[in-house]
């Protein structure tokens, strides 16, 4: 299993007056090369679960093994290193930096890896050509369309060549044709062997034929209908 969660709990502000139990008793396993959709309403815990799978933080309790590493045993620094080697993130609203150019946004994850500008550009160019945004290379990200922005976010998630792609509400700000286009790209990536986990409450996503499995989250637990 590429992703294996066992009895995972996440509590924010533990022991304080504003303690929040975001996840409880999550058991989840995801095979390499599959596409999983976490569905559920806002505040159900999807993003927290995605953050744990994405090695952003370890669970408060339980076991989480991502791409062969037990998160609970990893200090923060190694969690970061593991994240940049294994995970590609696509955010809600895409989270690109509007003042940076398309090329600069895409290559951001490569800067702390000590990769030369030439190699960064080469890798980004391949992805931009594949995603049809090569003509926007030197445009500030704040000046391109929503569809192009989405492709920039995908290119940035792929630039590190990670085995796992995580997408958090990726279609929340897209119209139907762009949402379909997004899912088509995800399908291609899955076909290339990427493991994809998407958190969404958009039916266009969780009912898409490429989705291998849907997991419903409600009040921080996996909901079995």
């Amino acid at each position: 299993m590429l992703i294996a969660l066992e009895n995972v709990c996440k509590i924010y502000n533990q022991g304080q007056a504003n303690e929040v139990r975001a996840l409880s008793g999550i058991d989840l396993s995801v095979e390499a090369g599959s596409m999983l959709c976490l569905k559920g309403p806002s505040g159900s815990g999807k993003s927290t679960l995605l953050a744990i799978i994405g090695c952003v933080f370890p669970p408060t309790s339980g076991r989480a093994a991502i791409a062969g590493k037990q998160l609970a045993r990893l200090p923060d620094r190694f969690l970061t290193i593991h994240r940049r080697e294994s995970i590609g993130f696509i955010f809600q609203k895409f989270n690109v930096l509007p003042e940076l150019t398309v090329l600069e946004n895409i290559t951001l994850p490569l800067l702390p890896l000590g990769i030369s500008p030439r190699e960064r550009r080469q890798r980004a160019k391949t992805l931009m050509e594949r995603l049809g945004i090569a003509h926007r290379e030197n445009f500030p990200a704040g000046q391109i369309s929503g569809g192009e922005l989405q492709r920039v976010a995908i290119a940035r998630a792929l630039i590190n060549r990670p085995p796992i792609i995580l997408a958090d509400e990726p279609t929340a700000h897209l119209d139907t044709p762009l949402s379909r286009e997004f899912m088509a790209i995800m399908q291609q990536l899955q076909a290339e062997g990427k493991t994809i986990v998407i958190a969404s409450h958009d039916p266009l996503v969780f009912e898409h034929p490429a989705i291998d499995r849907q997991v419903a989250i409600q009040d921080g637990r996996i909901h079995v209908p």
Binding site: V56, F57, T80, F89, Q92, L97, P117, A172
Partner: protein, 398 residues
């Protein structure tokens, strides 16, 4: 591995540069204020060092021992007979009487220094002629002849005339003829100077014949200055005995006091700027917070974010330091440090038009860097630690 590390730092430096450019309005204003602070402190240090150096060079020609008569704690005229009494002290080479005083010109509001001395009697006095830009030193017996400094020429508009008059204390006029002008390079000592024979100075101040304001003493062996000074003090108990090292020390103290006073004012400006920088760096705008969260979720470590802030601070402070130093250099060299002249050139209303050569000791340079660049780095990088620890999950949705 090392190559990767260097490449990583270059990438982060590149990102820091683009980050500075993105917030160029804010960073440019910080750069300008920081440069201005460094400019003020550096030009102040340069001009005070240049002035001390210049004064030190010129004081080499000062008398080795000066004797002044005191009465009720105040200086008064000394009889020339006192000089004759000193001839018996072994080691004294020459005793030259001098009339030294100040003349306040009510019309121009300037203070002139009047020095009545026979330069040819002073040791090395014949060399004084080399300090003249034009003309010659007054010769003995020449009535009313005077050598003037450049400040006096400008103040009294003596460019196209030789004759001018000053008031005696009884308001009668004394007419003087310009026989020469001191060179600009000697301005710190001569700008407000009127050099004449002691008899002429006595006449101007109405000092009785046979008296002077002080006696200048040269000694055969400069190592004996203190011993001879002590013997003079024993022989003339009503007199104050000043040695050249003491006068040099007084100059240093005067410059030091003025420098210290202005330094405190300028360091306050530096401190205010550092507090401002700290305040700026510790407050984090929402878009900066979002940027850091995005970088961290994309795999940037806290140390990487901190490195960006460090390079930004280095670039801003380094550039500000360079700009400030260059402008200070230009201010002192090309504009004769016009901002600090009133503070450093003394109480005299007449400001000497001397040209200064910027000088800064390595220690001062390092001190300046330590008091400006380092606090700025600390004031921006330490609060940046807080911003760099923004949790990565804040880039994710709810």
């Amino acid at each position: 591995m090392a190559k990767r590390g260097i490449e990583k730092q270059l990438n982060i430096l590149d990102y820091a540069l683009s980050s500075l450019w993105r917030r160029r309005t804010k960073n440019l204003s910080i750069l300008l204020v920081f440069s201005a602070v460094i400019f003020l402190v550096a030009s102040f240090l340069m001009v005070s060092k240049a002035l001390s150096d210049r004064a030190g060079q010129l004081l080499v020609a000062a008398p080795e021992i000066t004797v002044q008569r005191m009465s009720a704690g105040r200086q008064e005229a000394i009889p020339l007979a006192h000089g004759e009494r000193l001839q018996g002290i072994f080691g004294i080479r020459r005793v030259v009487p001098r009339v030294w005083g100040y003349y306040f010109d009510e019309v121009t509001g300037a203070n002139f220094t009047v020095l009545g001395v026979d330069p040819l009697q002073m040791p090395g006095g014949d060399g004084l002629a080399t300090a003249l830009a034009r003309g010659r030193l007054p010769e003995e017996g020449e009535a009313g002849m005077v050598v003037v400094g450049q400040g006096v020429v400008e103040t009294l508009a003596l460019e196209n005339r030789q004759l001018f008059s000053l008031f005696r204390p009884d308001l009668s006029l004394k007419t003087l003829t310009v026989s020469g002008e001191f060179a600009k390079e000697t301005g710190i000592m001569t700008a407000d100077l009127l050099l004449m024979h002691p008899a002429e100075a006595r006449d101007l101040f109405l000092i009785a014949p046979g008296f002077a304001t002080d006696l200048c003493i040269s000694v055969a062996n400069s190592r004996e200055i203190e011993t001879i000074a002590r013997k003079i003090a024993e022989l003339l108990p009503d007199c104050r005995v000043l040695t050249r090292p003491q006068i040099q020390k007084t100059y240093q103290v005067v410059f030091g006091w003025r420098s210290g006073f202005a330094s405190i004012c300028l360091l306050s400006a530096v401190a205010a700027f550092i507090i401002l920088a700290w305040d700026k760096a510790s407050g984090l705008a929402p878009e900066e917070r979002r940027e850091i969260a995005i970088l961290k979720v994309l795999g940037w470590e806290t140390a990487d974010v901190l490195a960006v802030r460090f390079w930004e601070a280095c670039l801003v402070s380094g550039l500000a330091f360079l700009l400030g130093m260059l402008s200070a250099f230009a201010h002192v060299l090309f504009f004769s440090a016009f901002l600090f002249r009133p503070i450093l050139l003394g109480w005299s209303v007449l400001a000497p038009g001397l040209s200064l050569v910027p000088a800064l000791a390595l220690g001062d340079f390092l001190l300046l860097a330590a008091f400006t660049v380092l606090p700025y780095l600390a004031a921006t990088v330490i609060p940046a630690w807080r911003s760099a620890t923004v949790p990565a999950d804040s880039a994710l949705g709810g």
